[in-house]
């Protein structure tokens, strides 16, 4: 407590320098929080997505990426085989879908993902929480139901016409809020229309609901064993896969923010070192009066720690604010809040800031505590 009071006095005595150092750490910590918040946001968004997505397994042709758009390569025999073995595999229900992507695939506003659903199946079968915003829910017999996000992004309204190919066009008959970012960017249409546009009778994907008491992972394995050439992707598997990708991203983002952190740390070390050199006589007086080495060491180390801690706390606050700004943008652009500052991220950032202060403070503290009284006071 006593030492802290002395530290605060000293920092106050040099307000501009203390403030600039504080700002340096603030920016470094804020940038780290913001960088890492993307990973946390992705994790949160992903698990939310997965619970909103109805079917637990999607069966696609081998070679399709976990989150990739599948090609229509599943023949009708795949569907009939699955149907025939549904009971023994642990499948409650299943339905096929044909998917077609039009547009660049890069810019969400000009990319259109047509999700062809078979008759009797509506967006609600894909996303159980789906609600009609305008018009109707079912695209059949010959309409298109647009996900809310997609409608806003590409300014699609009821009555407008969507063109799947040169010959095929569908009027928009409904806007749906599927409650999930992915499904909200789909355009639901009758399956036969997609098949017609692609000139095929194949399916892109077969969606599977697993019976109660069965594990999706195991059912997916059994499907792959039964039918060669297919990939049965369970949502839990997809989450694991995504988690791995996010973690790699985390490491890269942390690496980038580490540069800012190192600069921040050097800033603290420099400030504290300068302050040590300026106060050599002061430390000399303290030592002459009877201060032990440990006292001076603590004094200097606390100075660095206090700078790092307060800079870190303000940086976390700034990071949270920044993350909210990012989310306003990404929610608008892709329908997902991509950035999240979780308690563990806050904890981690504060830990990094404190470590930074420690490391930056140790050398100046050592120098200060080893000052010789006679040299410091010019008594040689």
């Amino acid at each position: 407590m006593e030492t802290l009071f002395l530290v605060v006095r000293n920092l106050k005595a040099r307000p501009v320098r203390s403030l600039l150092t504080l700002l340096g750490i603030l920016v470094a910590t804020a940038s780290m929080v913001l960088f890492l918040s993307f990973g946390e946001g992705l994790r949160k968004a992903l698990s939310a997505e997965m619970t909103k997505f109805g079917p637990q397994i999607r069966v696609v042709a081998e070679g399709t990426g976990t989150f990739g758009v599948p090609n229509p390569e599943l023949g009708p025999e795949v569907l009939s085989t699955l149907k025939a073995h549904a009971d023994e595999l642990g499948i409650a229900r299943l339905f096929p879908a044909a998917v077609m992507m039009k547009g660049s695939g890069f810019d969400p506003a000009t990319t259109f993902l047509f999700y062809g659903l078979p008759e009797g199946i509506t967006p609600k079968d894909l996303a159980p929480a789906a609600k009609v915003v305008a018009g109707r829910l079912d695209p059949h017999p010959d309409g298109a139901v647009v996900g809310k996000q997609k409608a806003e992004q590409s300014r699609l309204t009821l009555g407008k016409t969507l063109r799947l190919s040169r010959k095929i066009a569908l009027p928009i008959v409904g806007i749906v809020d599927a409650g999930s970012g992915f499904a909200n960017s789909f355009i639901f249409v009758p399956m036969k229309t997609v098949q017609e546009a692609l000139n095929t009778t194949n399916y892109s994907v077969i969606l599977v609901y697993v019976k109660e008491g069965y594990a999706a992972d195991e059912v997916a394995e059994k499907i792959e064993a039964l039918i060669p050439g297919v990939d049965a992707q369970s949502t839990t598997e997809a989450v694991k896969y995504a988690e791995r990708a996010i973690r790699i991203g985390d490491v890269i983002r942390f690496g980038i923010s580490l540069i800012a952190l190192i600069v921040g740390g050097l800033l603290v070390a420099n400030t504290v070192m300068m302050s040590v050199y300026e106060r050599i006589r002061e430390f000399g007086v303290m030592r002459a009066i009877g201060a032990r080495r440990g006292f001076i060491f603590r004094l200097v180390l606390f100075e660095a720690l206090l700078l790092a801690l307060s800079g870190g706390a303000l940086g976390v606050a700034a990071g949270i604010a920044g993350s909210q700004v990012v989310n306003v943008y990404t929610t608008h652009a892709v329908g997902l809040a991509l950035s999240a500052v979780t308690p563990r991220l806050v904890l981690f950032s504060m830990l990094v800031a404190v470590t930074l202060g420690m490391v930056a403070g140790v050398i100046p503290a050592r120098v200060a505590s080893r000052i010789s009284v006679i040299e410091a006071l010019g008594r040689v």
Binding site: E2, L6, R9, N10, K12, A13, R281, E282, V285, M286, R287, A288, I289, G290, A291, R292, R293, G294, F295, V373, I374, L377, R379
Partner: protein
């Protein structure tokens, strides 16, 4: 046998300067009696070296030095600091006070180091500042005080833990004569009971206030002058 309060035995300090060895202090022996003892001599005579050794700022090349019964020559730096804190007070020529602390906080600082509770510290610091006539300056920072006032705060601080020995190194060196004589008056007044006041100076008028004068020349004690 009584513990020596401030005693030097054959105290010697040699420095290496390039190829040559310089003997800054040569076999100084003296047992300081209570009261004011002035140490005088021209510059380079070894006054500062002697004070460095007596206060435990530095270690002797040879010889022994005792402060409040503690063998400073045999102690490490931190232990010497501990002995200083409890038994010695210091008033230097300049740069005495901690610039970021108020007068009151400066006086309380040694008590803070010792771990005296805050309330007690403040009370005693107030009383000490009153004693040196600076009650109205409690909340002033050193830069807001005159040189004489700063020295008086330093004296108050030196007395904070009621030390057995008070070291003053050219305490009036930077002051005009009025402020200087007031500071000197205060210092001399502190030589009560068992307390030793060691006054290092080159000013004969300052030395004249001491009960005895030790004269140094070329690192050797050449004269001990007892005054009536």
């Amino acid at each position: 046998m009584k513990k020596p309060i401030l005693q030097a035995k054959n105290l010697t300090k040699r420095y290496r300067q390039g190829e040559a060895w310089i003997e800054a202090l040569k076999g100084f022996s003296y047992d300081f009696p209570p009261g004011v003892t002035a140490v005088v001599g021209p510059s380079g005579s070894g006054k500062t070296t002697l004070l460095n050794l007596l206060a435990g700022f530095d270690t002797p090349t040879e010889g022994e030095v005792y402060l409040a019964g503690n063998p400073l020559h045999a102690l490490g730096e931190d232990d010497r600091a501990g002995v200083r804190l409890l038994h010695a007070g210091f008033v230097f020529q300049s740069w005495n006070l901690l610039p970021t602390l108020t007068a009151l906080e400066n006086v309380a600082f040694p008590m803070l180091l010792k771990g005296v509770p805050a309330k007690e510290r403040t009370e005693r610091a107030r009383a000490l500042l009153a004693e040196v006539g600076l009650s109205h300056r409690e909340d002033h920072f050193p830069r807001q005080l005159s040189g004489g006032e700063q020295q008086r705060v330093a004296i108050a601080r030196a007395l904070a833990l009621d030390p057995l020995v008070l070291f003053a190194d050219e305490p009036t060196g930077n002051l005009d004569s009025a402020a200087g004589s007031r500071v000197l008056e205060l210092l001399v007044r502190q030589a009560q009971g068992e307390r030793r006041v060691v006054l290092v100076t080159h000013d004969p008028e300052v030395a004249a206030r001491a009960e005895r004068i030790l004269r140094l020349k070329d690192g050797a004690l050449i004269e001990i002058q007892e005054r009536p």
